[in-house]
C-alpha cells in the first residue's frame, strides 16, 4: 500500500507538467504546392544576338495566390569565389537579350506567393554559344605558318560552309611552324570572363609555336611566350595532354605541368627534372595519356619510358610489369610512333626501331599497371608495309587496327594478327599529311545529327588540302568518304568541337 502511495505521489508531481498552457498554432491544411512549367532544362543562345523569351505558367493550390516574380543568372564553374546571381527581370515573362560571354550559365526563375509567403525556384542551363562553338576545326600550315580553318555544321555533321584562317582572323597573327596537334580541355583555367573559371580551351600546337584559345571566341588566352611561369628559351612544342589530375606540355623535349586539382591561373610550371642529378633528357612528341590514368612519355636520350605527376619536381620512373617482353628502361630503341589504343583498359600502341639494327622494327602493345609497363612485342618482317610507314592513325576503342600511310596509300595493320590491308589510295598528285580517328557518340537526341565515327585522311596537293571523312566497317574504310573538306595548306590535325564535347570525348593522342 505504501508503495502505491509513493507511485501516486510521483505521478502527481509529473502530472503537474500537463498544466502547461498549449499555445500551439496548428493548421491542418495541405501544404501549398506551387507549380512552374514552361521553363526548358537547357537553352543554347548566341551572345549579343539571341534573346531568351520565356512565359512560364505558374499555379498554386492556394486559391488566393498572388505571385511576384524574379529572374536571375549566374556563371558556373567559377574558381575561388562564389558566383553571384545577377537579377535580370521582375516580371513573369522574360524577354532578355543574352549579353553574357559564351560559356555555361544558369538561368534562375523564382516566384513567391505573397499571400502565403511560399516561394518556388526553378533553374535552367544556359549555354551561351558562338559560331566557334560547333564545327570541324582543321589545323593547317602554309609557307611555314600555321592557321586554323573552321567548317560550320549547323544542322548535321557534314559541313555546310567554311571560315578560313579563323585563328589569324581573330588574333591578327599566325603561328610559326608546321601544324602539329590539337588538344581540347574544358577544365583549363583562365579569367576570360573576368574571374578564374574552367574555360573550354583549344590548344593549337605547331612544331615551333603554340597557342591556347577560348573556343567560344577563338581569342588567344596565352601564346607560347606567356603560357609558362618562365618563358622557354627554345620554342619546340611536342605535345599537350591531360592525365592524373594535371595538364602536361612537352616543349623542347622537357615536361612542364599544371596541377589541375588546385587553384591555378593556367600557366605551366618549370621543367621537371629527369632525376635528382638533373640528368639531361629529351621526351619524344609521342605520349600516352588519359585523364584518369598516369601519363607515359618516352625519353629519347635514355630510350626509357617515364611518367610524371602534376606536383612532382622529378619525372617518375617506370618499372617492368610481370610478363613484359621488353624492359621499360634503357631498351636501346627509337620510338617512331605511340598512341592510345583504348582508355579502358588503358592500352597504348607503339612502333619502335632498334638503335643497333635499324632494320629491326617492332609493334608493341603497352599496358600500364600504375608505373609498371607490360610491353608485348610483334616483330615486323622486312616485307611488311608498316616498315615504311610515314603517318599513323590508331583506331581508338573500336577495332584493333593501326592505320598508316606509305606514299599515296593508306594501309591498315591488324594488331591482333599482323595482317596488312590496303584501304585507300589517294588520287595521283596528292600527298598524305595526316590520319586521324575521331569518334563522337552519345545519347542526346539533339546531338544525334552530329555524332560520328570517322577516319579522317588528309592530303595536300598544289598548296591545297583535302580532308576525307570515311566511315569504317569492321576496321575497313568505306569506298567513298561521307564528305571532303577542302582549303589551302597542309593539314596537321582535325578535331570536331560541339558544346557538349568535353576533355573526355577524345583521348589525348597523336
Amino acid at each position: 500500500m505504501k508503495l502505491t502511495y509513493q507511485i501516486l505521489a510521483a505521478c502527481s508531481l509529473l502530472l503537474t507538467a500537463s498544466c502547461y498552457k498549449d499555445k500551439g498554432n496548428y493548421s491542418y491544411k495541405s501544404p501549398e504546392n506551387i507549380t512552374i512549367s514552361g521553363v526548358e532544362a537547357t537553352y543554347d543562345k548566341v551572345s549579343l544576338v539571341d534573346k531568351i523569351s520565356i512565359d512560364p505558367k505558374v499555379s498554386s493550390t492556394d486559391p488566393d495566390a498572388q505571385f511576384s516574380y524574379w529572374w536571375g543568372i549566374y556563371e558556373t564553374n567559377v574558381q575561388g569565389s562564389a558566383p553571384k546571381v545577377d537579377t535580370i527581370g521582375h516580371s513573369k515573362t522574360l524577354d532578355y537579350l543574352v549579353t553574357q560571354p559564351a560559356k555555361g550559365w544558369v538561368l534562375v526563375f523564382g516566384t513567391r506567393n505573397e499571400h502565403t509567403g511560399f516561394s518556388r525556384i526553378v533553374t535552367a542551363n544556359l549555354n551561351v554559344v558562338t559560331q566557334f562553338t560547333r564545327g570541324w576545326y582543321i589545323m593547317k600550315s602554309d609557307g611555314g605558318k600555321t592557321d586554323v580553318d573552321l567548317f560550320l555544321t549547323p544542322t548535321g555533321i557534314a559541313p555546310q560552309s567554311r571560315l578560313e584562317n579563323v585563328f589569324s582572323l581573330v588574333n591578327g597573327k599566325k603561328l610559326d611552324g608546321d601544324a602539329s596537334l590539337f588538344g581540347f580541355y574544358t577544365n583549363y583555367k583562365s579569367n576570360v570572363t573576368g574571374a578564374y573559371a574552367n574555360t573550354r580551351a583549344l590548344f593549337i600546337l605547331s612544331d615551333k609555336d603554340a597557342s591556347v584559345v577560348n573556343i567560344n571566341t577563338f581569342k588567344e588566352i596565352h601564346g607560347l611566350n606567356n603560357l609558362f611561369y618562365e618563358t622557354p628559351s627554345v620554342k619546340r612544342p611536342g605535345s599537350i595532354s591531360e592525365s592524373s589530375q594535371a595538364n602536361y606540355f612537352v616543349n623542347d623535349g622537357h615536361l612542364h605541368s599544371i596541377y589541375s586539382m588546385s587553384a591555378n591561373i593556367g600557366l605551366f610550371g618549370g621543367k621537371q627534372l629527369r632525376d635528382d642529378n638533373n640528368s639531361p633528357y629529351s621526351l619524344s612528341k609521342y605520349f600516352m595519356a588519359y585523364p584518369f590514368e598516369n601519363p607515359f612519355f618516352f625519353d629519347e636520350t635514355s630510350s626509357s619510358f617515364v611518367s610524371a605527376t602534376g606536383t612532382g619536381a622529378v619525372l617518375s620512373a617506370t618499372t617492368d610489369a610481370t610478363g613484359t617482353e621488353m624492359p621499360a628502361n634503357r631498351m636501346n630503341k627509337d620510338l617512331l610512333f605511340m598512341g592510345v589504343k583504348s582508355t579502358y583498359p588503358y592500352v597504348g600502341i607503339a612502333l619502335f626501331r632498334d638503335k643497333t639494327d635499324p632494320t629491326l622494327k617492332i609493334v608493341s602493345s603497352i599496358t600500364p599497371s600504375n608505373y609498371a609497363l607490360k610491353i608485348v612485342n610483334d616483330t615486323l618482317t622486312q616485307t611488311d608495309k608498316l616498315n615504311q610507314a610515314e603517318h599513323f592513325g590508331l583506331i581508338v576503342a573500336d577495332e584493333n587496327i593501326l592505320y598508316f600511310s606509305v606514299g599515296q596509300e593508306v594501309w591498315s595493320w591488324n594488331l591482333s594478327n599482323g595482317a596488312e590491308q590496303l584501304q585507300f589510295t589517294v588520287p595521283a598528285g596528292e600527298k598524305i599529311t595526316s590520319i586521324r580517328h575521331r569518334n563522337y557518340a552519345g545519347s542526346s537526341n539533339t546531338e544525334q545529327p552530329f555524332y560520328h565515327n570517322y577516319m579522317l585522311i588528309s592530303t595536300t596537293s598544289g598548296g591545297n588540302y583535302k580532308v576525307r571523312a570515311f566511315r569504317k566497317t569492321s576496321g575497313n574504310l568505306a569506298t567513298t568518304p561521307d564528305f571532303t573538306m577542302e582549303g589551302k595548306g597542309s593539314v596537321g590535325d582535325v578535331i570536331y568541337i560541339a558544346p557538349s564535347i568535353s576533355n573526355y570525348t577524345y583521348p589525348n593522342s597523336y
Binding site: L3, Y5, Q6, A9, A10, L13, L14, Y229, E230, I258, Y259, S262, A263, N264, I265, L267, G269, G270, K271, Q272, L273, D276, N277, N278, T311, A313
Partner: protein, 255 residues
Amino acid sequence: MKQILTVAMLTALLAACKKDQYYLYNDIARLQFGPTPDRIYTSSFEMADTMKPFTFFYEPATITQDTVFFDIYAIGGISGNDRPFTLEQVNIPGEANAVPGTHYKAFSDASLKDAYVIKAGQVHASVPVIVLRDASLKKGTVKLQIQVKANEQFQPGEIKKLWRRVEFTDMLSQPAAWNASAVQYYWGKYSQVKHSFMINQTGEKWDQEFLTFVNTDYALLSFWRLKLKTLLTDYNNAHPGAPLTDEMGETVVFP
C-alpha cells in the same frame, strides 16, 4: 518515506533541464594581444603573430629605424575616453635581449606618449614597436619580448595572450612566411646560406612580402620549388664533392 523523498528529488531534478541564461561580461577592463581584426573570430589564429621576425637587411643604409606592429584588444567594452595602456619588456633568460634606446625605442620614450592608447569608442589598437638599426645587429639577432602591464585603465587579460616577441637583426633572417608548413613542403630547413642562394640565383628578395605573395598560389609555389631545386642541383653538379653547405655544416636541400 525515504522512497517518496528519492522520487520527489529525482522529479525535481527535471527542473534542471531549463536552458541557462548567458552571462554578460561585467568584470573590469582588461587588455590582451590578439590576431589581426579580420582573424579575431578564427580560433586557429588565436595565437597568430605571437612572434614576429624582422630584418633591416633589405632596407637602404639610410634607414635607421623601422616599426613592427602587433594587435591589442581591450576586453570589457568601449569607453568614451582614450585609454592609455602600458607595456614592459620581459628579459628572456639566456638570450640576447634587446636594449632599450639601443635596439628599440623605449615604451616610455616621450615621442611615443600617444602611441599606446585604445582610442575612445574602440577596443582595438595597433601597437607600434620602434626597432632601431644598431650596428650590433649586423652580427646577431636580438629578442624583444613585451607584455601587458596593469595600469589605471586596464588589468591584464588572459595569461597566454599577454605577450609578444620581436626577433630582429640586420642580417638575413627567416621571414615569418617561411613557417613550419613552408619548411616541410616547400623550402626546407632555414639557413642564411640557403636564403642567400635563393636571392642570388633568382634575383628575388625572398623576404616576407615575396614569400607571402608566393604563398597565395600553389602553382607559383610549385614553380619556385622546382626552380630552386633545379638551380641547387646544377650548382652541386658544378661543384663536385662540394655541395652547397649551410652555416651549420649541413648540406642544403629543398624538399
